[in-house]
């Protein structure tokens, strides 16, 4: 799927501003950003529930989606939903094809109950299964683990990862729970003010964010001149922050070898959360 130069305005307010990215089947992409960044609008445009926008999207004919809260019939059972949303698209719901997913999501035993008796988490899970009906090539999920406890969230995300791989489905997930995004996505898009501010690959290798504070600018310059184990993110007169895959002991050893005295040293494992906080000014976000 190629999303090309999408711009969306509501009256005079620009919600999305020339946004472009591509998205392959089998890939899971995360979409993060503050409230009002344009995530839901972008998802609605891809799902085609919003029609009036500038730009183009290729390959939108086979997209399943769950955007904002699940939209369901309170008086129908979960099973009736699955039958209905298969039938109206000319398909028959074969339960055996979805049994593993339904069991994984703990929906199997409640499918004959009316949806109005479901908790928010159960409705979310049913909404996810509906989005996966009719063999979609792509699935768009807006806050899919909303209303779920930690164990259920993990199970849902693992099932999605499995579905993406087994059925070659491209999945775009937005969430405020950055740990959720990090656990399943291979790529994360940081959206702010309607544009993609940053694209981050999620690696299996551990990365660390290291901050070194030196006594003098000369010592800092010496370190910067010789260091080869990390990417410098930012520096001031006497301090430097870098990203590295090297472990802490090696960094200390390197500094000692240079004969430089450290005034302060901090290190933390790089997570999506601290990348978000660093790059998006996410302190106000509460993610």
């Amino acid at each position: 799927m190629i999303i090309d130069s999408i711009t969306k305005k509501y009256k005079q307010q620009v919600v999305l501003n020339g946004l472009s990215f591509d998205f392959k089947q089998g890939e899971i992409i995360g979409l993060v950003g503050k409230n009002g960044a344009g995530k839901s609008t972008l998802m609605k445009i891809i799902a085609q529930t919003v029609q009036n926008f500038d730009g183009s999207i290729k390959e939108t004919q086979n997209v399943g989606y769950l955007i904002e809260e699940p939209k369901l019939f309170g008086k129908k059972t979960g099973l009736a939903h699955l039958n209905y949303f298969s039938a109206i698209y000319g398909n028959k719901f074969h339960r055996n094809e979805y049994e593993e997913l339904l069991k994984g999501l703990q929906l199997s035993g409640v499918l004959n109950r009316k949806v109005r008796e479901y908790s928010l988490g159960m409705k979310q899970k049913l909404g996810i299964v509906i989005s996966l009906l009719n063999n979609p090539s792509y699935v768009i999920l807006d806050e899919p683990t909303n209303g779920m406890d930690i164990e259920t969230s993990i199970e849902v995300l693992q099932q999605l990862k499995k579905m993406a791989k087994e059925r070659n489905i491209g999945i775009l997930i937005s969430s405020h729970k950055l740990e959720d995004i990090e656990s399943v996505c291979s790529r994360v898009l940081f959206l702010e003010d309607g544009v993609i501010q940053e694209e981050q690959q999620v690696s299996d290798q551990n990365h660390y964010l290291v901050k070194l504070v030196f006594d003098t600018p000369t010592e800092l310059a010496t370190f910067q001149k010789h260091q080869e184990f990390g990417t410098i993110l930012r520096s001031s007169d006497t301090s430097v922050e870098l990203e590295t895959t090297t472990n802490t002991a090696d960094v200390f050893q390197f500094v000692n070898k240079l004969g430089i005295r450290l005034n302060d040293f901090t290190t933390e494992k790089k997570t999506l959360r601290n990348v978000y906080m660093n790059k998006m000014g996410g302190a106000k976000h509460g993610a």
Partner: protein
């Protein structure tokens, strides 16, 4: 994923039968007509076959309009429409599918109504039951149901609450035409009476069970239907959620 019109129609029409709405609606339509037929046959009232058809249409047309509208309102009220109204093709298919349902519902009511009239006539209810009247009755029912259904659909698309829509439709089909009828009866202004007599909101409820419409009224009716259909499709293509 393309919305399959045939599957949608089959599924939802059978749901209207299964949940009993169609049966309740047709019983509401039949009850006054059967009662009037009984009174006529008992010589309690001096009515004829057209009164039977009028009593059938009194609640029958309201029920026939509300059945297909119930499905559209259900989808919009629960917002499940967002799972269907995605591509332009699906948006048009959804409108077409619901129009087809309205057509079948109107056919169902028209057929039951025609059958009732034939049976009532056989049992001895007085009055001519010509083929032209029966044919006019079928066409009138079809036009009325489709027109008022599309009008209600348009109100849903403009975000009106279902309670308000049902109230408006009930008023239009049961009461509003009586007010207009009084104006026609009491007014000497021929332009005003001409406008009212050719206004679909008047002539459909008044004439549906009584007489075939005039050629001008049929023309106005068909144009109104096409305009409403055009507006519903146009609005459906643009609506965002």
């Amino acid at each position: 994923m393309v919305l399959n019109i045939k599957s949608y129609v089959n599924y939802n029409l059978s749901e209207l039968f299964k949940n009993g709405f169609l049966i309740i609606g047709i019983l509401c339509a039949l009850a006054p007509a059967v009662l009037v037929s009984y009174l006529i046959l008992s010589d309690a009232v001096a009515f004829n076959i057209k009164h039977v058809s009028n009593f059938f249409c009194m609640l029958g047309m309201l029920a026939a309009v509300l059945h297909p509208l119930y499905l559209v309102n259900r989808d919009y009220a629960s917002k499940t429409i967002t799972l269907i109204n995605n591509s332009q093709k699906n948006r048009v298919n959804y409108v077409v599918a619901n129009v087809v349902i309205a057509f079948f519902v109107s056919l169902f009511y028209a057929s039951i109504g025609a059958l009732l009239l034939i049976v009532a006539k056989q049992l001895g209810v007085p009055g001519e039951l010509e083929a032209s009247f029966l044919f006019g009755f079928l066409v009138n029912v079809f036009l009325l149901v489709m027109t008022f259904f599309l009008f209600g659909y348009l109100l849903i698309l403009f975000g009106m609450k279902s309670g308000a829509i049902y109230t408006i439709l009930t008023a239009m089909l049961l009461f509003f035409h009586n007010i207009l009828g009084n104006i026609v009866y009491n007014s000497e202004n021929t332009i005003l009476t001409g406008i009212i007599e050719n206004f679909p909101g008047y002539f459909y409820p008044v004439m549906v069970g009584s007489n075939p419409l005039s050629p001008l009224q049929y023309s106005i009716g068909v144009v109104t239907l096409l305009v409403l259909l055009f507006l519903v499709v146009r609005k459906s293509k643009k609506i965002e959620f």
